[in-house]
């Protein structure tokens, strides 16, 4: 019995030694909406970020051959969980930088209350609210996805070009929905369109029929939904279709989720269009696509490219900064400012050599060139998608 106990104790001790990372590891936080309304999108985003981490470790590691470790946290797409996850990453895990959080509300809360005071650099791959540009962040908040200000305006112009001049707008009452809806309204009305209904709704309610009836009473036959396709956006879409409130539906990037196709059926979604950011065709995008497909990922999944780029750029910045937390944000600008030797997705070994030699590098990512403006934002390209088979298919590029 005693022997057994000793053996058990030894095993347990051994296990803790294995579980604790070696001192030399460099940790980054990977905060995502693992649970909550974008839970259906989060896995591809997290997998693509981990692909970047894996490529770093497979090609010589970070700094002096150390291992880059991604610590995953659940920001649950809301401000409270975003703050909790960021606090844990910054104070307990002592991360050098953070990829994420995923949703705008989480980004704003985590940045304001945790990462800006701690001086930790964060790169959100999907926090798209225009509010994020305005953060007083000492240059520590970046994103690899364009602000919704671009998307809302581009979508408004595209709808007007397609002769849709009268719409009703339903948006989720959070930072994401509100930001997108307001940019959309501004541009749509500014260019002669008519908004025949404009209303926020709370997420996760069971019935939106009265909301939809209110919106439909304005007489528009097109409903623009700025919500999440796996959350209340799905419920709204279903109830609008079932009751015939509207005939045409247009969604923002949040609505481009598999959930509506899976739950409502593609045959019912023939009049559903959705805008989403797309990567411009580039070698880098192809290289990412190939690598991601090899590990079983879908390169076309929404925000997969931006998540990958965010993680890869954070790794480059850490390498450039020599692991110094305070220098990460300045280094992030240096590795992708349009000047220097181009580095494409996955070219870690090459980048590492150049950084060691002191040569300037310029990351050309899968989602774009990512030359940050002074607010840490990137410009974007969008496309309008329609449902085709069990997938989304590009209808037209939008500017």
């Amino acid at each position: 019995m005693n022997k057994f106990r000793t053996a058990l104790a030894a095993t347990l001790l051994g296990a803790t030694a294995m579980a604790a990372p070696a001192q030399a590891d460099v940790k980054i936080g990977l905060l995502g909406g693992v649970s909550g309304p974008i839970a259906a999108m989060a896995p591809a985003m997290i997998d693509s970020a981990r692909l970047a981490v894996q490529q770093v470790n497979d090609n010589g590691g970070i700094l002096d051959g150390e291992k880059l470790v991604a610590v995953i946290g659940d920001s649950a797409c809301n401000p409270q969980n975003g703050t909790d996850a960021a606090t844990k990453a910054v104070n307990i895990e002592n991360v050098v930088g953070i990829v994420g959080p995923h949703c705008s509300g989480s980004v704003l809360a985590a940045a304001n209350s945790v990462t800006i005071p701690a001086g930790v650099t964060i790169i959100s791959p999907s926090g798209t609210s225009p509010e994020i540009s305005g953060l007083n962040d000492n240059d520590t908040v970046f994103r690899t996805v364009p602000s919704d200000d671009f998307q809302g305006r581009a979508l408004a112009r595209t709808l007007l070009l397609r002769d849709t001049a009268k719409v009703a707008v339903a948006y989720l009452n959070n930072d994401y929905g509100k930001g997108l809806a307001e940019s959309f309204r501004d541009e749509f009305e500014g260019n002669g369109g008519e908004i025949a209904g404009f209303a926020a709704h709370e997420g996760e309610k069971a019935s939106y029929r009265s909301n939809l009836a209110e919106l439909a009473s304005g007489g528009a036959d097109t409903l623009v939904i700025f919500d999440y396709g796996d959350g209340s956006g799905l419920t709204m879409l279903r109830q609008a279709l079932e009751n015939g409130f509207f005939t045409n539906f247009v969604g923002g990037d949040g609505m481009k989720s598999d959930a509506p196709i899976k739950e409502l059926g593609a045959e019912n979604l023939t009049t559903f269009l959705s805008s989403a950011p797309v990567g411009e065709k580039s070698d880098s995008l192809e290289m990412f696509g190939k690598a991601f497909a090899e590990i079983g990922g879908d390169p076309a999944a929404i925000f997969a490219t931006t998540s990958y780029d965010a993680a890869f750029m954070l790794a480059l910045a850490i390498e450039k900064a020599g692991g110094d937390k305070a220098k990460v944000s300045a280094s992030l600008r240096e590795i992708s400012n349009g000047e220097g030797e181009p580095i494409r997705a996955g070219e870690w070994a090459k980048a590492k050599e150049l950084i060691a030699a002191g040569t300037a590098i310029d990351y050309k990512g899968a989602a774009g060139d990512h030359n940050f403006d002074d607010k840490g934002d990137v410009p974007g390209t969008y496309a309008l998608f329609k449902v085709s088979g069990d997938n989304f298919e590009v209808v037209t590029e939008i500017q």
């Binding site: 839970a39 259906a40 709704h201 029929r209 209110e214 796996d230 079932e242 739950e263 059926g265």
Partner: protein, 290 residues
């Protein structure tokens, strides 16, 4: 706006969601009056019931209506086990301890649902159902079934409480547990019976919510506040009050969009709850004040 439009898009959805709230509120009111605490895991127990029915639908290939009794039995068993594992131990402590424990149970139940079924939205059947039109009123079969099932279940419960020996024992314990014990009522059995009924009703609320809308891991939790508002509005301990309260809360939520900006819809139940506690804490039908 015509009368038909008000009926179709405000009243009918209000009655359907109100019926679902009512099923939940009846359970809450029973726990409130017999066990004397607010059971915060009620919503997540409903989620569990809805997903158990989904399990029966996907594994057994049966219709959700066949899965309903299966889910009710399984959820009742789960409720009894939760009581034995967590609440029984705390029964002699101050009630607030049990209330907090039930919050913990709520998180655990939800986590189990998320681990087993994932966090995506699910439905019992794929596709959309357009309503049938009866003299201008748009109704779906599932909406009628929801309303009639609610009425049927509540009537059965009412007869049980009024007529049967065990129903009377439950009412006796609700009035005065010590006196009931002295009169030979087995408190433990009554507690178990309460959980069986509450679990079954929870599952019914969850299944009907999933049937009319979608199944989500958070579906029950977001229903908790309206269900509590309904139970208190009707009067704690009053089954018929809970039904009335549920319908009023459901209809008020949908109708509120006529007068208020739509983002305040979710706050309607909360406003009703506050107002009732201030003006008439016994509820519409003179319930208990705890």
């Amino acid at each position: 706006m015509g009368a038909l439009e008000i009926i179709n898009f405000y009243l009918v959805p209000g009655i359907v969601i109100g019926s679902i709230y009512a099923l939940g509120a009846v359970g809450i009111t029973l726990v409130f009056s017999i066990l004397r605490y607010a059971h915060l895991a009620h919503g997540d127990l409903a989620t569990l019931g809805a997903f158990l029915a989904l399990g029966a639908v996907t594994l057994g290939g049966v219709s959700p209506y066949v899965a309903l009794p299966v889910a009710m039995v399984l959820t009742a068993a789960a409720a009894v086990m939760i009581d034995k594992a967590f609440y029984a131990y705390l029964r002699e402590r101050p009630k607030i301890v049990t209330v907090m424990a039930s919050l913990g149970v709520a998180l655990m139940v939800r986590a189990i649902v998320q681990v087993v079924w994932g966090v995506d939205s699910e439905t019992y059947t794929r596709g959309i159902v357009r309503p049938d039109v009866w003299f201008g009123i748009r109704l779906r079969d599932r909406e009628l079934i929801t309303i009639f099932a609610m009425i049927g279940l509540v009537l059965a419960l009412h007869v049980f409480l009024q007529q049967s020996k065990w129903g009377k024992a439950m009412r006796a314990m609700s009035d005065n547990p010590d006196l009931a014990l002295l009169s030979g009522v087995d408190n433990k059995k009554v507690v178990m019976l309460t959980w069986i009924i509450v679990g079954g009703l929870c599952a019914a609320a969850g299944v009907f919510l999933g049937l009319n809308y979608e199944l989500k891991a958070m579906m029950g939790w977001t229903m908790l506040l309206p269900m509590f508002a309904a139970a208190i509005l009707g009067g704690v301990g009053r089954v018929e009050g809970a039904v009335l309260g549920g319908l009023i809360v459901g209809i008020a939520e949908e109708m509120s969009t006529l007068f208020l900006p739509t983002e305040y819809k979710a706050a309607t139940a909360f406003a009703i709850l506050l107002l009732m506690l201030l003006v008439r804490p016994t509820g519409l039908l003179k319930g208990k004040v705890l």
